[in-house]
Amino acid sequence: MPLFLLSFLLLLCGAALPLLLWRRPLAAQRSAVCCAVAASAVGLVPVLRVLFTGVPASFSFPWSVPLASFSLLLDPLSALFAVPLLLLTGLAAVYGAGYLAACAGKKPLALAWAAFNLLTASMLLVFSAANAVLFLLGWELMAAASFLLVLFEHEREQARKAGFIYLAAGGTGALLLLGLFLLLGAGAPSMDFSDFRVPSGGAATAAFLLALGGFGLKAGFIPLHVWLPEAHPAAPSHVSAVMSGIMIKTGLYGIIRVLGLLKPWPEWWGWLLLGLGLVSCLGGALFALAQHELKRVLAYSSIENVGIILLALGLGVVAAACGAHQLASLAFAGALLHVFNHALFKGLLFMGAGAVLHGTGTGELEALGGLSKRMPAAAAFFMAGSAAACALPPLNGFAGEFLVYLGALRALNSPGSVALAGVLAGLALAAAGAVAAAAFTRAAGTAFLGEPRTERAAGAHAPGPLMAVPMFLLALLCLLSGLAAPLLLGPLSAAVSAGFGGYYGFAAGLEAMGPFLYISAAALCLLGLIALAAAKRRAFLGGRQPASGVTWDCGYAAPTARMQYGASSFAQPLTDFFQPLLRKLGQYPVISEYFPAKASFSTEAQAVFYNSVYTPAAVRLRDLAYRFSWLQHGRLQLYIMYIVVTLIGLLLWKL
């Protein structure tokens, strides 16, 4: 535990030092990055120890804040979330040093780095807090720090809009969480999580729904996702990596903790989670396919992956409620493993998108192309991350989804509603996987392959070593954690035990070991086959030099880069098919003459939920609020009177 506290301390130093050095931006940046990397290295030691031994560590010291105690508890579940947090923030800090170097002098780097380290510290606090007040403190710090980072490019109108939506979503979520903790803590001796009394009946349902709303607004599943595709792309890329990779997981962490507390679960909770997961994973993948901006594609893919995790949780809860505990354990383990895996590959993908933005100055897919020649390493890493996001073996995305599939297949042979849950979960995974594959081949293909579509893309420069090395390490981790999946089962079952109950962890470790050994062997075998096929190809060539020419152009004499299939064309068959859901706006040319002259064509991906659900609701709310505007008139003395009246009222109530 002392090392864990040291890690905290280093992060706080990393937040304070840049502010002290604000006059020298590069020195501020260097100090912050050093602190972040040191904090990660130091923090990983106790966290990994907890994860591998399964023995929780705790720390507590008295604190004068009412109802609060400064008590931290690091159990395997916290540790499972803290490992990707520390890994990703450490690497993202190094990456950020390269990414932001060009902004020195133009942007308040010191503030950005202070916010970055504060964000890391607050997420660490969220994952390890054992007291509700402390947890909420961490939660709000996290929201504030990330808000500052979303507004990093505040001169762009889109970033300001994103920041405002993000603030509103965060505020609403925090309000719901306040209600949740009041409900759980009412009548308890303290606000420590261990002292919470477990509500039953209606109160339990209310607590579950409050948690789902409050934490869900952070996790970003559909329909609570509207802020996510705005805010994640607006932040600098290394922050997007952290936000998508790990910050949305704080919401899932909260949901899992509340589920662990509110046992036994009624079956309909599981169905609710399953339904939300289903909608999010299919919707997220489809919307990802329709986006025109690289980082927005990735943001929607995060929604898809949160959906997959929720789907697994839902399957587990349904199964557990029906008494099928073995397969529930597989689903829970799948959910947690995917939390870890998604953090790695989504971090990698956002860093890859950052390399594109850094090298070309734009993330618009239609303006890119041919970057594989200009930044070969970044292109290879991005494509590896894409393959992992499509859950392709031998990379790590497959392992977590495979566990969920395994649970779904076991469910198929169970009676009644569990079988239905299994079918739905498996089907959603298969369909979302296919759509995600289309979305990622489209993104990687149009950005990195073919010929550059604009001057900007043609003049792109490769990222420096500070940006490339973290990407390489993440890609390596994606491969290794895919190949070494059986080794992850021990820590994983410890985490499942801590989160859902001892039996589930034990069963998950036992049940998944056999298939995991097989898929790991099969993945190694696949790598061997690829190496063999490559070697044979070389042998077939026998030292002959391949000839080079132009791409086959069907005899057309003057091909240009603009004739390539673009991102919109690639997605068009599917987006047209799902147009009733996607509602993209488009302007199509009407050809009426034999020799059509100039024509223009445009499509725009709409934020469907934001435009057709939230905006009308917000307008309604604003109109309602206007009726009470007579209370808000800006006269100070009347405000003071309100306060006095409230205080007197409270006094009378207490008397």
């Binding site: 489209r442 097989y518 080079s548 086959w552």
Partner: protein, 305 residues
């Protein structure tokens, strides 16, 4: 002897797979009243291509070269999981067909990226369509396998097909018939046969799989053609295992019968190709949705039993 059998089975699959397209072509030639190319034509083509020097586009990068290698490796790997005449192959484990589906996904991913790497509008077109059809084919295929899991109570390919007996057909004939139909439609779409795609057309605008590999040549094209043959073998083997539930106890007799049925499936593909026209591109998803509906109906029947 028991240890040698999987090797023999695997070797048979690897060497006989290029025969299936030959059979398809002969059946088509028969319907058209032509003599047609030799049954072994693909073997000759592969031999010729392996000895040729490839031409690479100046636009293409390493992705273009890696595509065929990854694609054929994924399929060679997938055959390791595939049962032969209802008997297990080398690898058989719980949920192995999920791994198989994702191996097919890997092959598709590699092929599509290699196609986009050329920067050609034609190949982009083919890649886009390939991904579109996969979105409909993959759920249909998964749901069909899920129905088989429910029928047999097993969760590995070898377990599923080992548990299928004539008795299962007697009890659940409608379910298995629907699944056979569904898998056959998926076979046609996944292997780019008529009515989803036409492997013979020379108009790039209407092709899907063929247009994606326009720029490949030499050993790379040989890998792609061989991978396509393996993929056809894979889907045909699943159908053959399903319609051939009898295990006589004699391995040689089973294997012989299985190979006959495989040839039958290839002939059926050829017949479909001869008597049907290619569907309009926008109609192909509906065909795959039909396959999905067949799988779903089969699953519903089985769950209701």
């Amino acid at each position: 002897m028991e240890i040698v059998k999987p090797f023999c089975q695997y070797l048979a699959a690897m060497t006989l797979a290029p025969l299936l397209p030959g059979i398809v072509n002969r059946v088509k030639a028969f319907f058209a009243g032509r003599r047609g190319q030799p049954v072994l034509q693909l073997y000759f083509d592969l031999y010729k291509l392996l000895n040729k020097t490839p031409v690479y586009s100046r636009t293409a990068t390493w992705v273009f070269r890696a595509g065929p290698v990854a694609g054929v490796s994924a399929l060679v790997m997938a055959l390791l999981l595939l049962p032969f005449a209802g008997r297990p192959s080398f690898l058989s484990f719980e949920g192995d067909f999920i791994f198989l589906i994702y191996l097919l996904g890997l092959a598709r991913f590699a092929t599509v990226l290699a196609a986009l790497d050329t920067g050609s509008a034609f190949e982009g077109m083919g890649a886009s369509r390939e991904m579109q059809f996969a979105v409909f084919a993959e759920p249909a295929f998964f749901l069909g396998l899920a129905a088989l899991v429910r029928v047999s109570g097993q969760t590995s390919l070898a377990g599923i097909f080992g548990a299928l007996t004539p008795e299962t057909w007697r009890q659940a004939a409608p379910v298995l018939a629907l699944l056979t139909a569904s898998f056959f439609i998926v076979l046609l779409a996944e292997n780019s046969r008529v009515p989803a795609d036409d492997p013979n057309t020379h108009l790039e605008l209407t092709m899907i799989h063929e247009v994606m590999v326009l720029d490949h040549s030499g050993p790379d094209l040989a890998y792609i053609l061989y991978g396509a043959a393996l993929k056809l073998w894979l889907f045909a083997a699943l159908i053959a295992c399903m319609v051939l539930p009898r295990h006589s106890g004699s391995w040689a007799a089973d294997a012989g019968l299985f190979l006959l049925v495989m040839a039958g499936v290839a002939a059926a593909v050829g017949i479909v190709e001869s008597v049907m026209a290619r569907l309009r591109l926008t109609k192909v998803p509906y065909m795959l949705i039909t396959a999905f509906a067949f799988s779903a109906l089969a699953l519903i029947f089985q769950m209701g039993r």
